[in-house]
Symmetry: C2
Subunit: 354 residues, 2 copies
């Protein structure tokens, strides 16, 4: 039994909780917007979106995450900066860092900004889309607590280290947003708990062997996307977001679920100003042409439509804006409890469905 | 029956052929070095390495590729440049572009360089490693002629668009080098021709459906790495290398095997100066620590070693330097014919094996 909720009501709820936790208005606004976008674009079993308010609240209360953290630029050059997130909200640090990257891109053509001492930042593509709105191609990378073994390994050694890239068009941007897991633990659990076999390549058992058995997958490890290729990608993302910035890296990155411990996450943001390479109108025209080619390609049997990157998520967003965001019962329970504790009313559902 | 050849002898052969084709000494040196590195790091059924000399020679003779092409910087800013490859050798354009990216990184902290009017450039990681030798993290992206459908598609729509990232250590760099295909056509053919079933996820049949049947895979399409995630990656790589630079993109990128037609390939190079973020010695120390963690992790049953990105390729290189490069008979045949035509002696094998 799931129910749908108006996104603006959820946004106000999230913002209200954050203010009660001591966040300032700018922090609350950034987080509410980031969580709303994550929620609107995600599938029901995702752990992106408003569910994170409860996770962040536990961290703030346990001292693992600071509100009103004294973030600052540590050092900068014409096309780079290192930004200290001061153990504040990842979304706030990442938003400020991407703003700097965009400024650098406007003045120098490209801006690469590292973030140290940060926390979970939500969806990587959110920051890429900030850059796309400013006529840049935007790239955002984060590291994360260990979930994936390297090829042949049998324990979590490295995070799924999500990354996003967004490129503008005359309309909606092309958006890549992914973790380097073949599938998230949420998706594996979703199948396994229904007794369905887990697709080839998604999971490893506790000994590190590929498995499609639901029980073995639940007890086992997340497999990398694309085998050894995904391992190489996720390691290099950790080099950019973790090793380069001075943040934790590898197995030392903290879990968002250990409430009292700073995660010491790092991020890497890149903005590249399109106008330094090609006239923006020409770029838009070329993007339109590429989108048309990809959408109009020959389809496999039973396939109704072909998509460009980010299009399925954008359509989920449009539906959720119109019909409300669907929340799992346990998410609603978490948020209702949080609201009761903080004295913020959780909104009523728009409707209930199965 | 394969034979091994001394890499220096092969390098001299390649350089000699290129000079006879009209290349200048710098072009011949860049190509011979790039092809040697590709050869040394590749598996036997790869199409990287010296086999490309014959492909390039056909293109030069058919007018599809220019020697001594008048390459030039079209426009530049503090952290960016657009470089015109003038339909010359991809390796030469990419090497010059990465040199510019490194210079920009040294002066501004980051350098992003687009390349237009280029051709096949060999292994992407070669250019990343150029940056790593200069204390930078280097990223190189190329687009390529269409081989992969988007998810649900049934025809080649987009290239495998290889990319590479290299990051320095106190010793050998971490190196990511991959195409966005699950496996190359060479690897699929290698299995299929021996009648072996093709691993899950590698191939699609001619209708776009996943297949493990050797015959269907041979007649079908290359599958993206990691399903829809690999599709998104390869599309965004085309946006960076193709759409942004003014090069061809999508299905319009020319094949290296159409000898008379300029490929109109584009590349995107990025160099980020590590010292703008962290002291290089500290970075090296952190890389050493990450490498140790990954290598020393718990192993799955039957696994003898765990690797960091680029290590298997580096070990292949070490072996091939000591024992010679192994070439397939058809590659030797191609190169011997080319040598005979151009009056350049193909070297004798070091040994023959099965």
């Amino acid at each position: 039994m799931t129910a749908r909720y108006d996104v603006q009501a959820l946004r106000r709820f999230a913002s209200g909780c954050l203010l009660r936790l001591g966040a300032d208005q700018e922090e609350a606004d950034i987080l509410a917007d980031g969580l709303a976008e994550g929620q609107l674009r995600s599938v029901i079993y995702s752990n992106q979106g408003f569910v994170r308010v409860a996770v962040y609240a536990r961290r703030v209360r346990a001292g693992g995450l600071r509100v009103r953290a004294p973030m600052r630029v540590v050092q900068e050059g014409p096309a780079t900066a290192l930004f200290d997130g001061a153990n504040g909200f990842g979304q706030v640090a990442a938003t400020r860092a991407m703003r700097i990257a965009i400024e650098k891109a406007k003045s120098a053509g490209a801006g690469a900004v590292g973030v140290v001492n940060s926390n979970h930042f939500g969806q990587a593509s959110y920051y890429g889309m900030m850059a796309a709105r400013e006529g840049c191609i935007g790239v955002a990378v984060t590291n994360a607590s260990p979930e994936i073994p390297v090829s042949g390994g049998a324990e979590p050694m490295i995070g799924t280290n999500p990354w996003g890239i967004a490129a503008p068009t005359a309309g909606d941007p092309f958006v890549l947003d992914l973790s380097n897991a073949a599938a998230g633990r949420g998706a594996i659990r979703h199948r396994a708990l229904r007794g369905e076999s887990v697709p080839h390549g998604w999971a490893l058992d506790a000994e590190g062997r590929p498995t499609t058995e639901p029980a073995a997958a639940l007890e086992g490890l997340v497999a990398p996307m694309g085998g050894y290729k995904g391992v190489a990608i996720t390691v290099m993302m950790d080099v950019l977001a973790g090793v380069l910035t001075g943040a934790a890296f590898g197995a030392a990155v903290g879990s968002p679920y250990e409430a009292a411990r700073p995660q010491r996450v790092g991020h890497f943001m890149l903005a590249v100003d399109i106008s330094r390479f090609i006239a923006p109108e020409t770029f838009h025209e070329r993007m339109r042409s590429l989108a048309g080619e990809l959408r109009d390609g020959r389809r496999a049997p039973g396939i109704e439509r072909l998509f460009v990157p980010g299009e399925p998520e954008l359509e989920r967003r449009t539906t959720a804006m119109a019909e409300g965001c669907e929340l799992r019962p346990e998410v609603v329970g978490d948020l209702e409890s949080l609201g009761a504790e903080l004295g913020v009313d959780f909104p009523r559902p728009l409707s209930a469905s199965c």
